[in-house]
């Protein structure tokens, strides 16, 4: 009987341990965010934010000194014009770091949700969307300028964009918001057919593009939120679209990659790639770079021709980033945290973060 009792207590303790482990693992699920300046790449890669030398691929610094396993960093870091690196964490804090040393300048702690999308930096303001349904505007000293005068209907996972007059963002609740960039007041709100997981992108002629989880690329008029057009993809669209002034580019879950003309000048085209497309495509001059879940990085020109796949160990969920002549990709589940490719797709270096 004592044995039975011990077995039962042991099982309950086991359950406590398993549930504890499960909780930690589940809350930490996302993929890295990357940015770069002339010297370093900065990667929010789970327990640390790393600075990596672009020439050598060697770690310059990491933040914090002790791994933040329970409160990881996945939001794309962003640089300010006055030399700060702004990065949000799953612990609800938004940090300003010194890009040279990794030293903390300040932290903003008023948000109540995770920082999933990167911030938008303008000449004098940091606009930050949080999973607590709010848009925050901060000065470069980390002081709150305003919180949006309303609460959005749902969590905001994508970064905001701005045309100088308004700030635009989409929510998981299928809404697109335009907010006055100076006051935080709502200008308009528009409902689309599916949750918006990525960031919107601004196009010419007062047009805003958003991709939806229901598989639509929706263009809206930035003046009044009116829907101009809907393009249908073959499956859900996770990433925000990208644009090069001629076409708007977006990928879907089936690996279908689309170019839709924004003006009369462009021609629509599609490319079937291998693997689900999660990250926003990178437009680098006349080259388009797309990462897929199958661990392929595709280079193609802006007409959809000359498609060159490059294999990288791991799954590519993060948006590729251009850093000078290098293309930076951050695989998930591979040996490397960051891989630098040249324009031919050859690996220049890889960084493990260990």
């Amino acid at each position: 009987m004592k044995k039975k009792y011990l077995v039962l207590i042991g099982l309950l303790l086991g359950l406590a341990v398993v549930l504890g482990g499960c909780a930690t693992g589940l809350t930490a699920s996302s993929w890295p965010g990357v940015t770069a300046d002339a010297n370093n790449a900065y990667i929010a890669g789970g327990p640390y934010v790393f600075a990596v030398n672009l020439q050598t691929g060697v770690e310059v610094w990491r933040f914090p000194a002790k791994a933040a396993n329970a409160t990881p960093f996945y939001a794309t870091p962003m640089l300010t014009p006055d030399g700060q690196l702004i990065v949000g964490s799953f612990d609800h804090k938004l940090y300003s770091l010194n890009p040279q040393s990794g030293a903390e300048n300040w932290r903003f702690e008023q948000a109540k949700g995770r920082w999933i999308g990167g911030v938008l930096v303008t000449t004098d303001t940091i606009y930050a969307t949080n999973a607590d349904y709010n848009l925050y505007a901060l000065s470069f000293t980390g002081k709150l300028k305003w919180i949006s005068s309303f609460q959005a209907d749902q969590a905001i996972w994508g970064s905001p964009v701005s045309d100088g007059t308004n700030v635009y963002f989409g929510t998981l609740g299928r809404q697109v918001y335009a907010v006055n960039a100076q006051t935080g007041r709502k200008v308009w709100i528009q409902t689309v057919d599916g949750a918006i997981l990525g960031s919107p992108v601004l196009g010419p002629n007062n047009t805003l593009y958003v991709g939806t989880y229901s598989g639509l690329l929706v263009s809206l008029n930035t003046r009044n939120g009116e829907i101009i057009q809907k393009e249908t993809a073959s499956s859900w669209i996770w990433s925000g679209p990208a644009q090069d002034g001629t076409n708007v580019y977006v990928g879907d879950a089936n690996g279908m990659f689309y170019a839709f003309p924004m003006t009369g000048a462009g021609q629509p085209w599609t490319q079937q790639l291998n693997g689900t497309i999660i990250g926003t495509p990178l437009v680098s001059g006349t080259t388009i770079v797309v990462g897929t879940e199958s661990g392929k990085v595709y280079f193609m020109d802006n007409t959809g021709q000359n498609v060159r796949p490059v294999s990288v160990p791991g799954k590519i969920y993060a948006t590729p980033v251009a850093a000078g002549a290098l293309i930076l990709v951050a695989p998930t589940g591979g040996d490397s945290l960051l891989v630098a490719l040249d324009q031919t797709g050859a690996t220049k270096w890889s960084f493990t973060g260990k």
């Binding site: 009987m1 004592k2 039975k4 009792y5 077995v7 039962l8 207590i9 099982l11 309950l12 086991g14 359950l15 406590a16 398993v18 549930l19 504890g20 499960c22 909780a23 589940l26 809350t27 930490a28 699920s29 996302s30 993929w31 996945y74 799953f90 995770r114 999933i116 999973a131 749902q154 969590a155 996972w157 998981l172 609740g173 599916g194 949750a195 997981l197 939806t212 989880y213 229901s214 598989g215 859900w236 996770w238 879950a253 999660i278 969920y317």
Partner: protein, 261 residues
């Protein structure tokens, strides 16, 4: 394997209920718990039967005589106990089997709740992959995680004067204690190790589940509370609830036990 057999079906069942009832995840968890309890009811009934048999066995004169006879010989006592179990058709583990079955269910449900609520991009990506094809997930996402005052994906607190009070954890602990007490088989034998174990469990389980409720997503607490209340109801339906066990200083009525024998 675990995912395919437990977590994915649980997640899809939760989503199906959520869809059918018009988008209330709290109610979906309650209905799901009732469903699980209905499915495992035969096991529960078997547990109650075994517990009753075991209590009767502990009280029986035959067993007490054997205990006296082999007081100094533990090996022989254990052998005689097993022989008596066999003779009376008692399985010593039948009474704890349903409790053990609850463990994977709790674990699976916790994973399913967290997965279905998908509070991070990684969780949503996994959800997208595990949802059965007939679901139109994009029409469901994001799930409404609010239920009453709670965010079901987060541990629950009610803030009073700036202090977070874990009301749900307290309710979990109380309902677990009540369930343990009122469903505990009465025993008058001071050497009844089963009864001692039950008493220990009645103390430990509320603390343990209360700790879970304090630490983990409040959706799990909804499962615990619903499960406790249904558990009491199941015992009541079988006429095995002893409300007097809640009275401080309560001692089982030996005449009733004798009469039952």
């Amino acid at each position: 394997m675990w995912e395919t057999i437990i977590v994915n079906p649980f997640t899809n069942a939760l989503l199906l209920i959520y869809k059918l009832i018009g988008g209330n995840f709290g109610i979906a968890i309650i209905l799901f718990t009732i469903l699980i309890r209905l499915i495992t009811h035969p096991l529960m009934a078997s547990q109650i039967k075994s517990s009753t048999k075991m209590t009767e066995f502990q009280q029986s004169k035959q067993w007490q005589d054997i205990q006296k006879k082999y007081k100094g010989d533990k090996e022989k006592l254990a052998q005689e106990q097993m022989n008596l179990y066999k003779e009376l058709g008692i399985s010593p583990f039948a009474s704890c089997l349903p409790s053990i079955i609850q463990i994977p269910l709790i674990f699976g449900l916790y994973q399913s709740i967290m997965r279905a609520l998908a509070a991070t991009p990684g969780q949503l990506l996994i959800l997208t992959r595990v949802v059965y094809p007939f679901f139109h997930l994009s029409a469901l996402v994001p799930l409404n995680s609010q239920f009453l005052w709670m965010n079901l994906g987060q541990p629950e607190r009610i803030y009073m004067f700036g202090v977070g009070v874990p009301l749900l954890a307290i309710i979990v602990a109380i309902t677990t204690y009540v369930q343990s007490k009122v469903t505990m088989p009465a025993s008058t034998n001071p050497n009844d190790q089963g009864a001692m174990m039950n008493k220990m469990m009645a103390l430990y389980m509320p603390l343990l589940l209360g700790y879970f409720a304090l630490t983990f997503a409040s959706g799990l607490s909804i499962y615990f509370i619903t499960g406790n209340l249904i558990g009491v109801a199941q015992y009541a339906l079988l006429g095995k609830v002893n409300w007097r066990a809640l009275i401080p200083g309560y001692k089982p009525d030996t005449t009733v036990l004798v009469r039952n024998k």
